[in-house]
Symmetry: C2
Subunit: 230 residues, 2 copies
């Protein structure tokens, strides 16, 4: 709890989920790949279980490493999720394309629990991966008034449910540099609407234009932003 | 910005919205009520504009004080909102009943931008009020394992996008005491699903049973919680 400055657990117990499972890494072509040292180290750090039906029913599959396409495991859809160790990011399409969904530890009994954007209801989540660079105690991001890191800027290391309430003068953020950690930016205030996962370890942390926020982004509207934490 | 420990505005300018408007307080019966000193003091601290159509079109109305029933202003529905000074809480039904929606400064061009719970699509927001006790620099809440503040407890003064990730052993929170400030608790991780506005200045901050979280609550599921700030 060192990264939280002010909290207290009384009679804290271990978490619900203690069991670790065997893990394989399966490539998009279905081969079982050898895990390197880094991947071995990550075992146990991340765990997600997905079900084909709502409320944790039907076919299930557990993952401790990324999944490039759940349909190759015989799934038509993912309709419920439990994250036992996270965070993860889910994607609308295979190979980490399309709309993004932040998935932190907890229960997601149906699509609405993770999508946060009901006006765009394809209800697909077909690939997902762990977010490895999340480090809550060392998160910094810079927002820029114009594309390509031009214009006025705003450096921050805290969560902002309303950028406008904090003095950002627009509902738009044309470019973003992630200096450290991992962040999730949202279209609307209060952490709602389209979600964009922004990481120091991807794009070198540089998002020069809104179409780099996501392969699906068609607006530079960003009205809230927060850190992603382990 | 004193309540934010680590941020920096470069060339910060004034906010978008500077204009103040005349204000009336209209009772449920349509009378214009005299404002007391406290209400006068609040003028300028809160401002919300609502429209009958999406994307800030059609009939509009501005408020700087609570509205118990928007239908008494001739509205059928509210389909878009701009919060210029907040925070506010919106309610599904007149007189602050039913599902709750936290409304912080920013633009909400359609229902989905504030509801966060697309599985329950009545699309009503018929009353709203300012949240007066929000004080980000002094927020503390205690979660309890059982109803009536019994069992193990967890005191916190920070935002938690996943209570389970922080060690809370269940997806349920049976009772909550707000020691200071105002909070919003959410059904799902990552600030999604049903929203419950919990304030020190209401219920004396005591929520002994989940049916006190909201008149519409039918579950004690709470998987994320965060402070509300001015």
């Amino acid at each position: 709890m060192s990264h939280r400055s002010c909290c207290d657990f009384s009679n804290n117990t271990d978490s619900f989920f203690q069991t670790l499972y065997l893990c394989q890494r399966v490539t998009p072509k279905g081969e079982i790949a050898a895990m390197n040292t880094q991947q071995m180290e990550q075992m146990g750090q991340f765990k997600i279980t997905v079900w084909e039906e709502e409320n944790f029913q039907g076919k299930r599959c557990e993952f401790m490493l990324e999944c490039q396409n759940i349909m190759e495991r015989g799934f038509n859809k993912i309709r419920s999720i439990k994250v036992e160790n996270g965070p993860w990011v889910g994607y609308e399409y295979p190979e980490f394309q399309g709309q993004q969904f932040i998935l932190e530890k907890g229960d997601y009994p149906r699509y609405e629990a993770w999508s946060g954007n009901s006006s765009y209801r394809t209800e697909h989540m077909l690939s997902f991966r762990p977010i490895k660079c999340a480090n809550h105690s060392d998160s910094k991001v810079t927002l820029y008034e114009c594309e390509d890191f031009q214009g006025r800027k705003f450096e921050m290391c805290d969560d902002y449910p309303s950028l406008q309430a904090m003095g950002w003068c627009s509902k738009e953020v044309p470019s973003i540099k992630v200096n450290s950690g991992a962040w999730v930016a949202y279209q609307f205030p209060g952490y709602r609407g389209y979600q964009y996962i922004l990481e120091r370890d991807r794009h070198q942390g540089e998002y020069r234009h809104y179409n780099e926020y996501s392969t699906q982004a068609h607006t530079n509207q960003v009205q809230s932003i927060r850190r992603i934490q382990h």
